[in-house]
């Protein structure tokens, strides 16, 4: 890894919003800003490292208790603002998750205080926004691992990711996965090349049909004006695409890549439906 996890997220949040601080009362690990993109005022959210975090196991860009509840609160705020005024779904504000998270926080305090519930509330907030017509867009600029990604980003209508070797979307870090599955890291890499869902390479992830777009940007570590403009345009397009589609996650099954790699999902679902209708 050429850069510490979470710092790229911070850089891109600042580049896209012009802001770099949490909202009043929020911990320093969650950056939130309302910024115009295209015709919309989108809410951007990002989880970043906070070495001063109250929870010792959530200081390096992990999604912990405070991060999860803050995300939930800030996303629910957008939903509430939209329902209090009498608005058509078309003007439901976009919500954009900038994702560069190490994972969920691995700590005893977290388990004791039911982090599973904290993460659930954030995922629910994003999903509720999506179901109410808010375009929810995720931009993976660095890492998106496991529970951290389930909490912050995986409920989006559209997921975009940089085409870059430091972008890793996966269920478990390579070293930990090697230990648990009793394989070497080299073996995992080899397996990943043969078996797409196991790969740590975002280009293989793109084959799974879950990604809306893989973005080729010049030097993702240092967002320059031209690349920022490029990414903004992609976000605007993704928002429009989300608005034109449904509010569920069905596009993850109907994309061209999904038709190739997720045949078993499609078949299982079709069989369940066929037998459900007869039962």
């Amino acid at each position: 890894m050429s850069i510490q996890v979470g710092l790229r997220g911070k850089a891109w949040f600042e580049a896209l919003t012009g802001k770099n601080s949490p909202m009043a009362g929020d911990p320093d690990s969650v950056l939130t800003a309302d910024v115009k993109i295209g015709e919309d005022t989108a809410r951007f959210l990002c989880v970043v490292p906070n070495p001063q975090a109250r929870f010792p196991c959530a200081r390096r860009g992990e999604v912990g208790l405070e991060e999860a509840y803050t995300l939930a609160a800030r996303v629910n705020e957008v939903i509430k603002q939209n329902t209090s005024a009498d608005k058509q779904p078309i003007s439901a504000r976009p919500i954009i998750a900038i994702v560069d998270v190490k994972s969920q926080a691995y700590g005893r305090r977290e388990e004791t205080a039911a982090i599973f519930l904290a993460c659930a509330t954030a995922a629910e907030a994003y999903a509720s926004a999506r179901m109410k017509g808010h375009p929810v867009i995720t931009l993976v600029v660095g890492q998106a691992i496991s529970g951290g990604f389930l909490t912050h980003g995986y409920q989006a209508n559209r997921i975009l990711a940089f085409d870059d070797s430091d972008v890793v979307i996966h269920a478990m870090h390579k070293e930990a996965a090697a230990r648990i599955t009793l394989r070497t890291v080299a073996e995992l890499d080899r397996l990943g090349h043969e078996i797409a869902p196991l790969s740590y390479d975002v280009r293989d992830y793109a084959k799974l049909g879950l990604l809306h777009k893989l973005l080729h940007v010049e030097d993702p570590d240092k967002p320059a004006r031209a690349t920022v403009a490029q990414v903004q345009k992609e976000l605007i397009d993704a928002v429009a695409d989300a608005r034109a589609g449904s509010t569920d996650l069905g596009n993850r099954l109907t994309s061209n890549a999904a038709r190739e790699t997720r045949k078993a999902s499609v078949a299982a679902r079709a069989h369940i439906e066929e037998q459900w209708m007869k039962a």
Binding site: F55, C57, E66, Y69, T70, A72, A73, N76, Q104, Y106, R108, R109, E111, T112, A113, A114, I115, F116, L117, A118, C119, A120, T121, A123, E124, A125, A127, S128, S146, G147, L150, Q155, H170, A171, M172, A176, A177, R179, I180, L191, I195, P197, L198, Y205, L208, D248, L249, R252, R262, A264, S265, A267, A268, R269, H271, I272, E273, Q275, W276, A279
Partner: protein
């Protein structure tokens, strides 16, 4: 003189934990009311396991029964903890999500259908990694869609418990039923020890594990709803009562402000004694029992 023979109820009970996923699911449904969907005879297996030298299971470790509970339309979806630790793969996840989505569709068309999830699972099946992780995200989305119409009731009985990404699915449920043997947590003790060191969590300390993740603790601190002994009839009765109760007025996972405040109030300078959370969080249940907003 002859004495009456009294056989303790505990001895006569049928253990739920000793049943496999299929038998557990069947035990919850109204007798004769159910059919299994995409069962083992359909042979829809994982396409990813054999090439990694791992024996698949004909139902990919996920049992789907459609029928009735307490006379109401219901689908029970059970993960088999004995197969790959009940982990979520592409096919098992697709079966679960599809069943939830069909329950939602029926509910939207006027036939309200509840879902009962039997979660005996370590989370993502690492041999299917990204498809397993996405499957969990899709299941979570499907739970939230169904929850707008009908309750989603999660039962965690043990011995695997409910960990990993599926703990988020449990967290989204309308009600969580646990036995004392069961555990619910995001990260298992071994993973915490591995990532954060043995000081943070000694995974060989069984008492500590249950003190934090065990059913009694989760219910007492108010993040799960019912503690029930390992007795198939009792568990079925509890599930029936929640099916009949219908949706809570508010779901626990909607109570962000309440829990955010609770986290703010924690002293993080040292480890948190789980027992203190029974006093400060528990007793005042956050789950209303009925739509009409009657709180315990």
């Amino acid at each position: 003189m002859s004495y009456p023979t009294v056989i303790p109820e505990f001895v006569l009970r049928q253990s739920f934990i000793e049943l496999d996923a299929r038998a557990r699911a069947q035990s919850l449904m109204d007798p004769g009311s159910w059919r299994e969907l995409v069962g083992p005879f359909d042979r829809i297996e994982s396409p990813w396991l054999p090439e990694q030298g791992i024996a698949p299971q004909f139902d990919d470790g996920c049992v789907v029964l459609k029928g009735a509970i307490a006379g109401k339309a219901a689908v029970v979806i059970a993960l088999e903890g004995g197969f790959q630790a009940g982990s979520m793969g592409e096919v098992s996840g697709a079966k679960m999500a599809a069943a939830l989505d069909l329950a939602t569709r029926d509910s939207q068309n006027g036939k309200k259908t509840v879902a009962v999830l039997l979660l005996e699972t370590g989370g993502v099946r690492l041999q299917e990694a990204n498809l397993g992780l996405n499957a969990i995200a899709e299941v979570m989305a499907s739970i939230l869609a169904l929850r707008q119409h009908a309750p989603v009731i999660t039962v965690i009985a043990g011995t695997v418990g409910c960990f990993g990404g599926m703990a988020l699915a449990a967290g989204l449920s309308s009600y969580i039923v646990m036995t004392p043997e069961a555990r619910l947590g995001l990260n298992g003790p071994e993973v915490i020890e591995q990532e954060s060191g043995i000081e943070e969590f000694d995974s060989s300390d069984r008492a500590l594990i249950w003190a934090i993740n065990g059913g009694e603790q989760r219910v007492a601190m108010g993040v799960a709803d019912e503690l029930v002994l390992d007795d198939a009839q009792k568990i079925a009765a509890i599930v029936r009562s929640h099916v009949e109760a219908g949706l809570p007025a508010v779901h626990r996972s909607q109570q962000v402000d309440l829990y955010r405040e609770r986290i703010r109030a924690l002293d993080t300078s040292r480890q948190i004694d789980p027992l203190t959370l029974r006093e400060t969080w528990g007793g005042k249940t956050t789950v209303s029992k009925t739509r009409k907003g009657v709180t315990r």
